[in-house]
Symmetry: C2
Subunit: 465 residues, 2 copies
């Protein structure tokens, strides 16, 4: 793809379109927006633009489209697949000034919000009205809700509440031509032609730029209980996961963690946790609702299932502090892994009953290629984050051989009925693996849809395919 | 659009592609497939084809695509928007021989099913395993699950369980070229490029022909209680709807019915129901779960809300027979209306708290245009089926003036944040109203997506736009 480099004349046009105060070309700005949370990758934009409203985004995209200048939209910069990296330079479009919660509609249980709002701030604001927006990725304290839409985000509560797909009703989107549409309606049902809302979700900023988001909200449960169960073997913990659902219980979170992950959290963070010698895997189960008696009944049923899988110990947390301490172990795990070793993260997802096969396979592949791995994730959804650790692997093998190992992991994932990303997206770093799962016919459909929205390929080029 | 008429040579090619025993040109067959449940519309196909497997569908589509012959896919023929009508003649592709439930996977809580399976038969089969597939449109006894996918179907339980969008994980689809893809993965999460599964859902057979469906299943609740509440005024009943959710209660069904609908059911069917003089509107509320005590707590909370909206009476049904009798009133309503008068049905959907405004507006529009209406529907989702009754309207006004009234209803729907179809689809009869809600830019995106999948426009032409 050939793109036009940004000239000083063009920069003036950008300034005119979005206001000079919102345009940055200083070295520090360019460096700040050259990376996200994906490994140690760096790509420098030519200019960082922080528009303040839809009209400015429209003017900016129109200008860039007419001049073949690439535009990379960016949310909170917490992505793990490199989707916000400006690989062709051009304009880095930061949505950080779209910070308004426009409306929390307590009559309809809906909210209208700008894409630059931090997910946790939005959750707190609706919680004040007794409402729940349940899509809370680990990065909820810094990621933007717009980035969550772009990635089809999940988080621990998907298992009961569903992914972001089930909470987004309508989107205001600026197309590369500068035209603005609303993708759907502010309704819980929609059978009025192709569902462009659902098409935009997970499209990683390659089809349009989201400037307003209408979400569904639900009543916030007032009670919850958290259980942390210990197992001697990974496979037993993973095996218990599907048995929980077969017993008719739906927890509001069901997380898996390997021992090494917990060890590293203890090393990284000041967390007190009694890690016993015979324990190699953990499940966290949360149950929520309004009726504590009812919740305890579910816990008791779950406990019976866990016992069948040789669970060695169950910790019950029902005070806010106990729950927070246990959740902190899980939430700190990504940073702890990162601080401990050079690593690569893969976001596998499979039908949940195949988790024991997946984790066993990953360890076998690791043994053959000489890498270790730390696995954790949203086991209730069959979503396992596989952290590949460099450990004793030589620099050369890490650089040249590892890819074949990753290919094998994704081939296994695919054979089990799964896919190569559950919630982190494809972005830059996973796109070379797309053909493991998807045929050329399938990928060409995606490419052609891209062309419908963005014929000049100015929006987030170099991503997904 | 110019299409090729089917010659006897071409008919032989079809027979070769799908087997002669699956090809029908007798008058009775052509007549049987010339209509669905939409008003009294009739369009005759040139041939009815009932293939038995994916390979045959692929061969048929390839042949028709190369020869510019239109193909209209058809499920159970219960549609209300005319989406299965072969308006350009050509091939009527009936999926009625795709009748296998391929697999009910009780480990992963998933099923793989062919599109010609009747929805209720599928529900019963999974229920035998203690599982729930909750998408049950009124026509569940005769509609096909494939037709439900094509229309993005809902039904009474959407309010708690979501629409079919939340239960379809993966689809095998034959494209007009004859190529076959799986649209996604058998997983609860998916962040691997554009979501073609979600794009296919609700596309009304215009993008590809679904030949296998992977659904999510959930544990089946063992208990339920049904309440039927009476009100003196429509607006009070509709007003109570959003208040129920604001009180933190999520029923598994929340239906609204106007008095006239109930009157007509009593007239049409042999139903005993004590219809009191001062009652003009009803709400049906169902609560489900595994714990009857917990359900009764919700009923009690709901009752308190209903009282605030001057509910005059509440009937509680907790035996299977009582529940069935009340549900029969609601389920028989479409047929009762149909048997009583010439009518047109519109499938409005709005944010639920605006229902009182919607129903008031519909009555005002009716008064101005001289038509009566009977409204009922899934009030918990803001989804109101508006049955426009000819009553005293002259034939000429019915033919010429009514359309303006319908336009006004949809304009009102749109102003309230809603859209022109919640679950019945656009098909043939609503497409002239699409521009009320969607801009030309928006519709052109849809048309261009259609071209990506079906450049020769052979699949279900004349529908949606």
């Amino acid at each position: 793809m050939q793109y036009t480099k940004i000239t000083s004349t063009f920069l003036d046009q950008i300034k005119e379109a979005v206001g000079a105060a919102n345009v940055f070309t200083d070295e520090e700005s360019l460096a700040n927006y050259a990376h996200d949370e994906t490994e140690d990758l760096k790509y420098f934009p030519e200019v960082v633009v922080k528009p303040v409203d839809t009209v400015s985004v429209s003017a900016l995209l129109k200008l860039c489209n007419e001049n073949h200048v690439p535009v990379t939209p960016r949310g909170g910069g917490t992505g793990l697949s490199g989707a916000a990296l400006p690989v062709f330079g051009g304009v880095l479009l930061s949505m950080e000034k779209f910070k308004k919660i426009i409306n929390i509609d307590t009559q309809n249980l809906q909210a209208t919000v700008e894409p630059g709002v931090i997910t946790e701030e939005f959750m707190d604001a609706v919680a004040e009205q007794g409402l729940l927006y349940p899509v809370d990725p680990s990065s909820k304290g810094s990621c933007f809700i717009g980035g969550n839409v772009a990635h089809g985000s999940g988080g621990p509560r998907v298992v009961k509440y569903g992914t972001i797909r089930e909470y987004i009703l309508n989107l205001e989107v600026v197309l590369p031509t500068g035209e603005v549409i609303w993708t759907g309606a502010n309704t819980l049902k929609y059978a009025s032609g192709y569902n462009l809302t659902q098409l935009m979700i997970g499209s990683e900023g390659t089809l349009g730029v989201v400037t307003k988001i209408v979400t569904k909200l639900i009543p916030k449960p007032t009670q919850s209980v958290l259980m942390m169960a210990s197992f001697a073997e990974n496979e037993e913990a993973c095996g218990a996961v599907s048995a929980i659902f077969r017993a008719g219980i739906i927890p509001s979170a069901l997380e898996f963690m390997e021992r090494k992950g917990v060890e590293w959290v203890i090393k990284y963070d000041d967390i007190k946790f009694d890690l016993k010698d015979n324990v190699n895997a953990f499940l966290m189960l949360e149950f929520d609702g309004d009726d504590l008696d009812h919740i305890f009944k579910d816990c008791e049923k779950a406990n019976q299932v866990l016992e069948q899988f040789n669970c060695t110990d169950v910790l019950f947390a029902d005070t806010a502090q106990q729950k927070e301490e246990i959740w902190r172990i899980r939430r700190t795990m990504p940073e702890s892994v990162k601080s401990n070793s050079i690593y690569k993260e893969e976001d596998t997802v499979v039908p949940r009953a195949t988790l024991p096969q997946l984790i066993k396979g990953i360890k076998e592949i690791g043994a053959r290629y000489g890498f270790e791995s730390v696995c954790y994730g949203h086991a209730g959804d069959g979503n396992l984050h596989v952290n590949i650790i460099k450990a004793g692997m030589s620099d050369e093998d890490w650089k040249n051989k590892l890819k074949d190992g990753i290919v094998e992991i994704f081939e296994l994932t695919s054979q089990l009925g799964g896919t190569i990303s559950g919630e982190h997206g494809i972005g830059l770093v996973q796109r070379e693996f797309m053909s493991i799962k998807y045929s050329e016919v399938h990928l060409n459909l995606m490419r052609s849809i891209k062309k419908v929205f963005d014929p000049n390929s100015i929006l987030n080029p170099g991503k997904i395919f």
